[in-house]
């Protein structure tokens, strides 16, 4: 639910990184924060458990400049991935304008990826939204682990498991090394902003 301020010509856009636990959602935000340090002046806010897992969300606000005369203020959020934190996941999704689904490419995570996507669909339904109506993209994270001999799912398999019937843009990535992190963000921002613009027209 983007908020458009006609007085100051500002649009606030909310992007949520969703996906199974330990999939790399927080790592995506940490990389973005480091990589665009000169443009992101705010500190990243994290609400973590003692074990360093995301408890509520991570939050990173920044400005992407002017589009059609409006200043776009982007707010990136992650959700806690562990199944038991569904109540907080649902809260973070409120008013979302775009979603990055971060899947874990490790072969052992196949089931948890699919469960998390199903959970996302259920939680969106609580806000009368769906994967059909909200702008979203997929990121297949940890694809580089194959180099270390760790079994990873092929992109084709991940597409079949998670993107069948949706045909959304997807990015094989390594959040830790920064591979395709910016490309994923750029794509979801472009989709979200286009969708808001279409609504305004």
């Amino acid at each position: 639910m983007a908020f458009i301020n006609l007085k100051n010509k500002i649009i606030q856009v909310k992007i949520v990184y969703y996906g199974p636990g330990r999939g790399g959602k927080t790592t995506n935000l940490e990389y973005i924060h480091r990589r665009f340090q000169e443009r992101i002046h705010a500190e990243m806010v994290t609400v973590k458990t003692h074990g360093d897992r995301t408890l509520f969300f991570d939050f990173l606000p920044f400005d992407i400049g002017l589009i059609h005369g409006y200043r776009i203020k982007v707010q990136l959020y992650t959700v806690p991935g562990q199944p038991k934190y569904n109540a907080t996941r649902k809260l973070v999704l409120r008013g979302v304008d775009g979603i990055v689904f971060v899947a874990d490419s490790m072969a052992i995570c196949r089931e948890s990826n699919m469960q998390s996507l199903k959970n996302l669909q259920e939680n969106l339904a609580a806000y009368r939204k769906s994967l059909e109506s909200v702008p979203w993209v997929l990121q297949y994270n940890k694809i580089d682990l194959a180099e270390q001999g760790i079994p990873v799912l092929s992109v084709e398999q991940l597409e079949r498991d998670l993107n069948r019937g949706y045909g959304r843009p997807s990015f094989p990535a390594s959040a830790l090394k920064g591979v395709n992190v910016a490309a994923t963000l750029k794509k979801i921002l472009s989709l979200a902003v286009t969708s808001i613009r279409d609504e305004m027209m």
């Binding site: 639910m1 908020f3 806010v45 939050f59 959020y77 109540a87 907080t88 609504e199 305004m200």
Partner: protein
């Protein structure tokens, strides 16, 4: 689902918040939506806070407390108050979509603040009533 406020509506909101709260000694006041977006923000110029992070956490905090209310059989807790040594925060729900957050020091009593917040909320309800989005939960 997006929503828009124009210059006239935002000016009206700022006038209400300034007259009722900032002019009565509140350090900082901001109106946010439950998604964590900032609609308007005013302060007395003394301190600058990271208001975007504050809004995100405030919306999350309010959402969490509302979920707690439902678990114990309450529909909601419509106001929250956090007390610090020098600074205090007061949250007041305006409607299902909007929240008013006030930061104030110890020179203002909680009772007086609550009264002023309640007066503001009544006026803000009128300004915000036309744009409560029907499709966003």
């Amino acid at each position: 689902m997006s929503y828009t406020l124009d210059q006239r509506q935002l000016d009206r909101i700022e006038d209400i918040l300034k007259a009722d709260l900032v002019d009565n000694g509140v350090r900082c006041v901001f109106l946010i939506d439950m998604a964590g977006n900032i609609i308007t923000h005013l302060d007395n110029g003394e301190k600058q806070h990271d208001i975007y992070s504050l809004a995100a956490l405030a919306a999350g905090n309010f959402g969490a407390v509302s979920a707690m209310a439902k678990i114990i059989g309450e529909n909601e807790f419509s106001l929250l108050f956090h007390k610090g040594k020098k600074e205090n925060i007061h949250f007041n729900k305006i409607s299902s979509e909007f929240l008013l957050i006030t930061i104030f020091g110890n020179e203002i009593s909680l009772g007086f603040l609550r009264m002023k917040v309640a007066e503001s909320v009544e006026q803000l309800k009128e300004v915000l009533a036309p744009l409560v989005p029907a499709t966003d939960g």
